[in-house]
């Protein structure tokens, strides 16, 4: 990607924008004077000009998403890529067990691909996939850095079905690179490369309820086995994965609802969006009055909701020594008008038009979480990331122009 500037004396023309394909530039300049020579032939006084193109910084932005749900298949990813346009699909013609998803603007890479030990190797060494010792952070750093700089990489593939490391696939640098997995923020060097980071924190009760829904259909699984599996992984999870929360720009915490006493179905959820203050290019979402503390039940005279309704709260807080603001939603959306009503009362959503969040949610009504805070906040984060991307691009192309004018 390059920014080109044409220098002429006395004026300078900046060929705005950035190019990532070959472009033909025709430069016409008006002759300031032409005069017939003695033998009646027009001669032109040529003005010197120089065209310089700088292969400026690549405009790939890198987003990190820490999630325990298995890569690239998660609903969050699909909502995110949908905001940028286009459906994300596995690379065509490649390994069918590839974890990578590619859309027009976005490429999602699964960090499991950087496992240094395959399933057998981990068994021998007695380490889980959660353990940093099972991952090659040097390679992760190298390849994410290369992609950020606009260079393609040959990235290994970890095959979740066979548990083996497959031959690598070629990844082209995209506009937006999302790295999703267990350890996007674990290594300090990789953290530095991230333009924005998100941590999806599912509480144990909700995790249990979701896994029951997922696994009970499988022969062999029982409530006990599901419980044992979660508990056995917990020590490694708490030691290696959970601490990444402190580095995230946004933490989405999913908890059981407080609106229904003793609810254990995990269907109605309380979702908190914990937003770090002072992050470049990120303006936290707020309710009514930024920095104040609000408790809001939208259901009432203007809006009727069915049981259990919706409850919002907003306020500043401290999280791992960081200043944050928290937007929290408990309950479910039942109707379109509830969704649009709530959307219209939130600020700093980075929407491009009224009702964009609602429209995005409607596009994917079949996705899990479409009627509660998980889908709602995930969609909003998608819009915030789009806003971040556009700000970064605007800044980067403004810089060379400014330099040329000087």
């Amino acid at each position: 990607m390059a920014v080109c500037t044409v220098y002429t004396i006395p004026t300078t023309t900046h060929l705005g924008g950035s190019f990532n394909q070959n472009k033909q530039v025709f430069f016409n300049y008006k002759r300031s004077s032409s005069f017939p020579s003695s033998n009646n032939i027009l001669t032109s006084v040529s003005r010197p000009y120089v065209i310089t193109c700088s292969a400026g910084e690549s405009q790939t932005i890198v987003i990190g998403l820490a999630a325990d749900s298995g890569c690239g298949k998660s609903t969050f990813m699909r909502r995110l890529t949908s905001v940028f346009g286009g459906a994300a699909e596995p690379p065509k013609g490649g390994n069918p067990d590839s974890n990578t998803l590619i859309s027009d603007t976005t490429t999602v890479i699964c960090l499991d691909d950087f496992h240094s030990l395959d399933r057998t190797g981990r068994k021998e060494k007695g380490v889980t996939a959660l353990d940093p010792r099972a991952n090659d952070f040097d390679l992760m750093y190298e390849q994410v850095k290369a992609l950020k700089e606009g260079k393609p990489v040959d990235k290994p593939i970890y095959n979740h079905v066979s548990g083996l490391l497959d031959p690598p696939e070629l990844i082209q640098p995209p506009k937006i690179l999302v790295i999703e997995g267990l350890h996007p923020m674990y290594d300090a060097r990789v953290r530095e490369l991230l333009d924005f980071s998100i941590y999806l924190d599912i509480s144990n009760e909700v995790k249990f309820a979701w896994k029951i829904q997922r696994d009970m259909k499988e022969r062999g699984h029982s409530l006990e086995s599901i419980k044992a599996s979660i508990e056995a992984r917990k020590p490694d999870f708490d030691a290696y994965i959970d601490p990444q929360k402190q580095y995230a720009d946004v933490v989405i915490e999913v908890l059981p609802t407080q609106l229904i006493p003793d609810d254990d179905e995990g269907k109605v959820l309380r979702v908190k969006m914990i937003q770090k203050e002072g992050v470049k290019y990120f303006n936290p979402v707020y309710l009514f009055d930024e920095g104040s503390t609000i408790s809001w039940i939208p259901c009432g005279r203007k809006l009727t909701c069915s049981y259990p309704g919706i409850k919002f709260s907003y306020g500043p807080d401290t999280f791992y020594d960081n200043e944050v603001t928290v937007v929290e939603m408990d309950g479910q959306f039942d109707r379109l008008d509830e969704l649009i009503y709530v959307e219209s009362h939130l600020s700093n959503l980075s929407t491009k038009f009224y009702g964009e969040v609602t429209q995005q949610m409607l596009k994917h009504q079949d996705f899990p979480g479409s009627n509660n805070g998980t889908g709602f906040f995930q969609t909003i984060i998608g819009l915030k990331i789009r806003d971040l991307f556009e700000q970064i691009v605007a800044n980067r192309s403004a810089a060379p122009a400014a330099a040329a004018k000087a």
Binding site: K123, T128, A129, H160, S225, R233
Partner: protein
């Protein structure tokens, strides 16, 4: 396979619940369960294989369409 892995995990863990072997065994169960559920979802959404093939290769014999 999931059944087998669960039985293995239960065996290993019945000896020592806090051992590394136990952790790894359940981690494997989790990995495979996740892969299986993803496969199930994919099968649900894959639809007609001919349709997706024809989107890629409309010029092949099977995919030609004719209009009167």
């Amino acid at each position: 396979m999931i059944q087998k892995k669960i039985r293995e995990a239960e065996e290993v863990c019945s000896q020592d619940k806090t051992s590394d072997g136990c952790k790894v065994a359940w981690d494997e169960v989790e990995e495979i369960s996740a892969a299986k559920s993803h496969l199930r979802l994919q099968l649900m959404h894959s639809g007609d294989p001919l349709q997706s093939f024809c989107q890629e290769h409309p010029e092949t014999e099977e995919c030609r369409t004719y209009q009167d």
